[in-house]
């Protein structure tokens, strides 16, 4: 017979569940962690990791960047696109 709980909170605490939406694990900003490897629009391999397969700029929730570095990252992607180091739209998706 399944256990019965008097209150909803009691049931949740039993399962280690605080209710509400699942929280994404806390990510740390890569560029804060390593200040000697700054974002560089010329570094194609680095900038490629900031965009999706389609060539869209990844959101902070995907990259884990802090606000400051996300701004820098977005700008670097735009510079790289201008210099044709990165596509505006990837070939595959055209």
């Amino acid at each position: 017979m399944p256990r019965r709980f008097e209150r909803e909170e009691e049931r949740r605490s039993e399962r280690g569940d605080r209710g509400g939406r699942a929280q994404a694990p806390k990510k740390n900003c890569r560029f804060c962690a390593n200040p000697f490897d700054p974002i560089d629009y010329k570094n194609e391999r680095q900038v490629r990791r900031l965009v999706s397969e389609r060539g869209k700029i990844l959101p902070r929730r995907a990259t884990g960047n802090c606000a400051k570095h996300q701004r820098e990252a977005a700008l670097a992607v735009k510079y790289a696109r201008h210099l044709a180091l990165l596509p505006f739209v990837s070939e595959f998706h055209k």
């Binding site: 200040p35 510079y79 201008h82 210099l83 044709a84 180091l85 505006f88």
Partner: protein
């Protein structure tokens, strides 16, 4: 004086002498304005991520230099007149922070006290 960096994408079908001529021309413009070239990189022929003026490749040249603030505008004007330059970009160079020197070796062995 401000630190800048400029990347040029030249047409890939020029004879080699024309590439060299353009590199020295723009170098000359920078130094003539009182600038000082810190770094010059010839990346050479690279595939473009998308065609520019029906070209799939470009000849990339990169400069990093110190120059007075009026130079980028003048440089830009000259570059625009050159039909063999597919693309160019000048930005204020953001110096990478210097890596700190490795810590000095510990003189006293740990736990000496």
């Amino acid at each position: 004086m401000q630190a800048y960096e400029t990347t040029l994408i030249l047409s890939p079908i020029l004879p080699e002498a024309d590439w060299a001529a353009r590199v020295s021309k723009y170098e000359g413009l920078i130094t003539a304005a009182g600038g000082e070239i810190k770094k010059k990189e010839i990346w050479g022929i690279r595939k473009l991520a998308y065609p520019i003026r029906h070209r799939a490749q470009g000849y990339y040249v990169f400069f990093q230099y110190q120059a007075p603030g009026e130079l980028p505008r003048e440089l830009d004007r000259n570059i625009r007149l050159d039909e063999e330059i597919l693309r160019h970009l000048t930005v204020v160079a953001k110096g990478a922070p210097a890596r700190p020197a490795p810590p000095a070796p510990e003189l006293q062995p740990k736990g000496a006290e």
